[in-house]
Amino acid sequence: MGYQQDPKVKPAGLSGEVSLPAALADVELVQAVRTPAAIDYIATPGASLSAYLRGMKQKKILGDVCPVTGQVFCPPRGVSPVSGQRTTEMVEVADQGYVESFNVTRLPIKSRPDLKPPYVSAWVVPDGSSTGSIALVAGIEPEEVRMGMRVKAVWKPDDELEESAANILHWEPTGEPDVVLEDLRVIGNPDGTAGGAQ
């Protein structure tokens, strides 16, 4: 037997019972108190994300360029982790790319009541970017989605465009031949070319 095998045995120091006044002896233990809390925050996107959001309004996807290695980060964060330096140049990447990997989500999520399961949540790398991000893939049956599948962005109608990442409704197949993924453990391209997309 181990030293402490029974979680119901109270440890020394916790074994004392609390004695209550007789009038309260039968009162039920309070198991929870509800204390709603709300704090308002003003979120600031920062320089790179601002530029990215402005680009989205013009149906342009922007990425940050690492000043040392040339890696292109999309979506941009204003910093290159591979050099530890602030990025100063932004470039437009394509609104086409490929699926690195994906899942088929079969449970609804509160923040997106518009998404009806099952839907495909995929890691999409735009051509010209070294990195990608999780995005919705639609216009295809979930069981037909493939790693390496070529996709293109489906934008909101021009008159509905805002400074928002939500301008891309989803990505859909282009019908081009799949990209050959060389090392299945690695994602993204170490340089800013449309790597993997040959």
Binding site: D40, I42, G46, S48, R77, G78, V79, P81, G84, R86
Partner: protein
């Protein structure tokens, strides 16, 4: 103990940084402080940071900032949900084991995005106190009232602290409250949380600080006059209001004794004292006398960046030693309501 020194630091503090994200404004400091002494991340054996999700309004907020530490290839790294001064403490401990010679430390926050007074209310006892949303100024006003009524301090003395802090802040390019006010001017201010007046409360800022620690000969190579850490310790008081005597600071007193503040003359002290009352509490607990210049930078009454102010106190004290402005300094960092936690660091030049 192994000899470890502050060899470089960089900071930025502004009333609000509107156009850059935390990582965007921190990278120039994190990269810049290394560049200033000719090292790269490859020379850094340990990296440690301090920040707060509640101030950022985002869970795992520090994950966005670690990119600025150049973690490709991977780095030996840690994070405390505390002021950067405790990140420095963690790094100092790590260096004591003799396996790391250089450490990068940073702390930051952008509190302008949320009402800090409300955010800090969530730090109180969640069952008895926080549901009442006691604002941070109100909590300190309780201590101020007690200090005044017990005869420990007068409103004039607090006004002197505030006036002198403004005077010192005028010489600090990073300070955000630099307008000069006489003691009489401050005495004439209407309280915003009686008895606290506008000049008694911290000058809230967005910003951060990055700092390099180096050990032994490495420190001497990197800096002409390193600021050696001769003692460092931190302690906490009780949290429950009413359990503590709010007119004294046991935590600062013990930490000060352990760090050896009283072993020799202190030329100047950079105290984490968000309120004028906190400064009185700390000078008393640390036994600092008239021969010590208090907060030559203007202190947190000149600029207060949550999660970085403590680290900035150490940076300010170290910089003055490196500049030859003095030989022995004390820096403190604090956390929690009524300075519940205090860290004390003694720095010396050779």
């Amino acid at each position: 103990m192994r000899d470890i020194a502050v060899v470089a630091s960089m900071q930025r503090q502004e009333p609000s940084i509107d156009n850059e994200s935390e990582v965007e404004y921190m990278v120039p400091l994190m990269h810049g402080v290394k560049e200033s002494i000719g090292i790269t991340q490859a020379d850094v054996g340990f990296t440690c940071s301090g920040s707060s999700d509640f101030i950022a309004g985002q869970a795992f907020s520090f994950v966005m900032t670690v990119d600025g530490a150049n973690p490709v290839p991977p780095i030996s790294e840690s994070h405390v949900e505390m002021d950067g001064a405790w990140a420095l403490y963690e790094a100092w401990v790590k260096m004591q084991m003799g396996e790391v010679d250089i450490a990068l430390i940073y702390g930051y926050s952008k509190s302008s995005g949320g009402s800090l007074r409300d955010v800090l209310a969530t730090q109180m006892d969640p069952y008895y106190v926080a549901p009442l949303w006691p604002d941070a100024f109100a909590i300190e006003a309780l201590a101020a009232r007690q200090m005044i009524e017990s005869g420990k301090v007068s409103l004039e003395r607090l006004a002197e602290v505030a006036s002198r802090s403004r005077e010192h802040a005028a010489n600090n390019p990073h300070a955000v409250r630099t307008a000069q006010k006489s003691v009489a001017d401050i005495m004439a201010e209407s309280p915003i949380m009686d008895p606290l007046r506008p000049s008694d409360i911290p000058a809230s800022a967005d910003g951060g600080c990055a700092l390099i620690l180096a050990a032994g000969d490495r420190a001497k190579e990197l800096c002409e006059r390193p600021a050696w850490i001769k003692g460092i310790d931190h302690r906490t008081d009780a949290h429950t209001l009413g359990v503590r005597d709010l007119t004294t600071s046991m935590s600062a007193r013990i930490a000060g004794e352990k760090a050896g503040v009283g072993n020799d003359k202190v030329d100047f002290a950079e105290l984490y004292a968000p309120f004028t009352t906190s400064e009185v509490l700390l000078t008393d607990a640390l036994g600092l006398g008239d021969d010590t210049v208090i907060n030559p930078s203007g202190g947190t009454l000149g600029a207060h960046t949550m999660m970085a102010s403590g680290l900035i106190r150490i940076a300010e004290a170290a910089q003055r030693i490196t500049n030859g402005d003095g030989d022995r300094a004390v820096a403190t960092a604090g956390s929690g309501p009524n300075l519940q936690q205090n860290l004390v660091c003694v720095l010396e030049g050779e």
